[in-house]
Symmetry: C2
Subunit: 434 residues, 2 copies
């Protein structure tokens, strides 16, 4: 498909690139041109707009084209727990609500429940997810079928997975060269034995691969790890050689000075999940500190059980607003920086280096944002409007890999939304009867 998106404001998210008015050409999976209107001058490969046979020409009416958001930490299939496991502290929530419910999930359930999450991502302008869950194959299959870009990350733990399984999944998904890829990871220090972690470190070093996990989410987790191993999670995990090739920590709410040095030294990413940290009363991560130390921060919604929605606008807003509260400084963490976290940093954290900005040759993961809505007016400063006032309501179109999957409230994912809702409700009813 050749798609021309014209008459648009464009935020490429390339460093120091100003907002301008122009057009974006999409040919197949990739961006063929980003720039001023090109009717009469030589365009891509010497072509002008009128030389190309367009399958679609979309007049953007001055609305905003930008790279899609990257949801850099989620557990998509947990949609079944939305508004079910609420108002509980993390450990009780995990042990008494989440784990028992998850024990009833089949692979097919995970596949169906992931689809519900994908619909929500599309409404929120999310074009890439970094997903950790019990059965990565089911998640990957749902994403492939719907057209969602997904980086799976192993949720290795003592109970539902093994290092062997992780290696097999790594090989399987990374040999496909498609919408879905795979990164090494584990659930968390507190769900993995010392032995499993050492084994994973060996694999990571052999594959020269980065490693990701939940880290330093709650005060209790940090205290327990310290009691167990005499060191806080990031420090302990690093001592096993897990981060020789980098990686990232989900949450990182409670970190020591020494651990900040480790994150820097290992060039690791922090993926912050502010809504989840509020819901479970875990605290506020020191985001402005990370930023000052040049530790790259990406943003994730976490799973729907701990959020409850999958809305990158809410997360962006919270990253900025909670930093202001934490530092008692209304001037900290401005919108442009947060927008970078939600797009470019997210892509880099997940290894999606071709889906970070709007530029010729990059993957066509693009969203169109409606500026003709009251919450986007007046137009003083578009990045601030997006981060401080933006909402799902403003997402007109979500394109992944050159395919329009969501446009003006309608989904184009090969199955009706109603079918997907019914599937999810059926699973929930069955599980609650068990």
């Amino acid at each position: 498909m050749n798609i021309r998106l014209h008459n648009a404001r464009i935020l490429t998210m390339e460093k120091d690139s100003p907002l301008f008015t122009g057009e974006v050409w999409v040919c197949g999976e990739k961006i063929a041109y980003v720039g001023a209107k090109k009717e009469n001058v030589s365009g891509v490969q010497g072509k002008t707009a009128s030389d190309i046979k367009w399958d679609k020409e979309i007049d953007c009416h001055g609305n905003l084209l930008m790279p899609g958001f990257k949801n850099a930490h989620t557990h998509s299939a947990m949609t079944f727990l939305r508004s079910y496991a609420d108002d509980l502290p993390l450990q009780e929530w995990l042990n008494e609500k989440v784990f028992p419910a998850e024990a009833h999930l089949t692979e097919e359930d995970i596949y169906e429940l992931t689809k519900l999450a994908v619909l929500e991502y599309l409404t929120s302008g999310v074009t890439g997810i970094f997903d950790m869950y019990i059965n990565p194959d089911a998640v990957g299959r749902a994403c492939e079928e719907m057209g969602m870009r997904c980086v799976l990350v192993s949720g290795l733990n003592n109970f539902t997975s093994s290092v062997k399984q992780t290696q097999e999944e790594y090989k399987k998904w990374n040999s496909k060269n498609g919408l879905v890829s795979y990164r090494l990871g584990f659930h968390a220090e507190y769900t993995c034995s010392h032995e499993i972690l050492r084994e994973l470190a060996e694999v990571a070093n052999r594959l020269k691969a980065p490693v990701y996990a939940h880290m330093n989410e709650t005060v209790k987790e940090v205290a327990d790890c310290k009691e167990r191993y005499g060191a806080e999670p990031i420090k302990f995990l690093d001592s096993l050689g897990l981060f020789e090739y980098g990686g990232g920590g989900f949450h990182c709410v409670h970190v020591t000075e020494e651990e900040i040095e480790i994150l820097k030294k290992r060039k690791m990413y922090v993926v912050t999940n502010p809504a989840s940290n509020l819901k479970l009363a875990s605290g506020i991560a020191p985001i402005s500190r990370f930023a000052r130390e040049d530790i790259p921060v990406a943003i994730g919604t976490d799973g729907p059980a701990s959020n409850n929605c999958l809305d990158m606008f809410r997360e962006m807003y919270l990253v900025s607003a909670l930093a202001k509260l934490r530092e008692s400084d209304a001037s900290c963490m401005d919108a442009a920086e947060v927008l970078r976290m939600a797009t470019v940093n997210g892509a880099k954290a997940m290894g999606l280096t071709d889906a970070d900005v709007l530029k010729e040759g990059k993957l066509a993961d693009i969203i169109l944002i409606d500026l003709n809505q009251p919450n986007m007016q007046p137009i003083h400063n578009i990045p601030k409007n997006l981060v401080y006032s933006g909402s799902k309501q403003n997402v007109i179109m979500t394109m992944i890999n050159g395919q329009i999957l969501y446009q003006e409230g309608a989904f184009f994912v090969g199955q009706s939304a109603v079918d997907i809702y019914e599937g999810a409700n059926r699973i929930v009813k069955r599980m609650l009867l068990q």
Copy 2:
């Protein structure tokens, strides 16, 4: 107009009323019937649905009808400062950005800028606002013309208003018996002389009227008041006899035990503004404490300059999420309670006792919420879905006083949205050139 809304899930927000499936009949400005489907049995005044000549019959497709949200604290016309005055502490923000910009506003500007806010309220399911601003007449006029229910509250202060003007406005707007009414108030202790406050107290006692103002928003405000008068704001203001007939405090982030007793004794409302308190790094109000003390809490967005959006879904979410953080208790402040704050408590705080719940004889201020969206699925618990996952995107229809003002993305307010956007942008351009 007679409008029949049928095939709906209904949350009346009456105390202990469960959610049920049925219909709502609207005749003129009021609700004529709320209950089960009534085709063949005697309905309102002995009538059945087929006896009434309906101007509109709307099939709600199982979506949710509920009372509209009440935005119990706002400064609507400040839309012109959205994304302009950001990332500054409150005093600097007020003195260096807001006050100088406001000095250039004409009455006509305020009228135009209010209209932009009204559009945004409608997209967020807001059917009543409690508005304080420099020129209440201009705000009232915009709301009357567009069909927005509005309670004006005097922003009396040393510079732009007087007790005489407040009394005139009180008389003018309360004699109309229309969409717009008026309550006594003043901006804040720190912008009013001792004398003005004493005068206002006399008026309040003569009129037997409640009084509202910004109170105890920041640590600095409290400290300054204590230095000036030897007491914190609520304590000092109460000592002047301002709250003999109740009233309410906007913000109330930093209050003493003694002030909590005053709020209880005077049966005052607290109107919380969590997004504004984050943006200006003012802190987190002790909402769960207020709730424990049976001090009724309502919710406001505050003005768009200090928020930046006018989105009651964001506020509801924040009320719950920030309470969990403040108390380090993931179980506190559940969704049903927050939903009550955003509807019933808001109506009561503003004196809109006929616009609080869905019930025969009440004003028809009703919203229709789309449950057929991924963020509302599965349907475990609708109040939790609304508060924890809800978004403007879910508002299908906003009805005020029996009139549909917003439906499926379109506005019916007597003027096109584009005209209103252009008006606001024109004002902003002119002001930035000054």
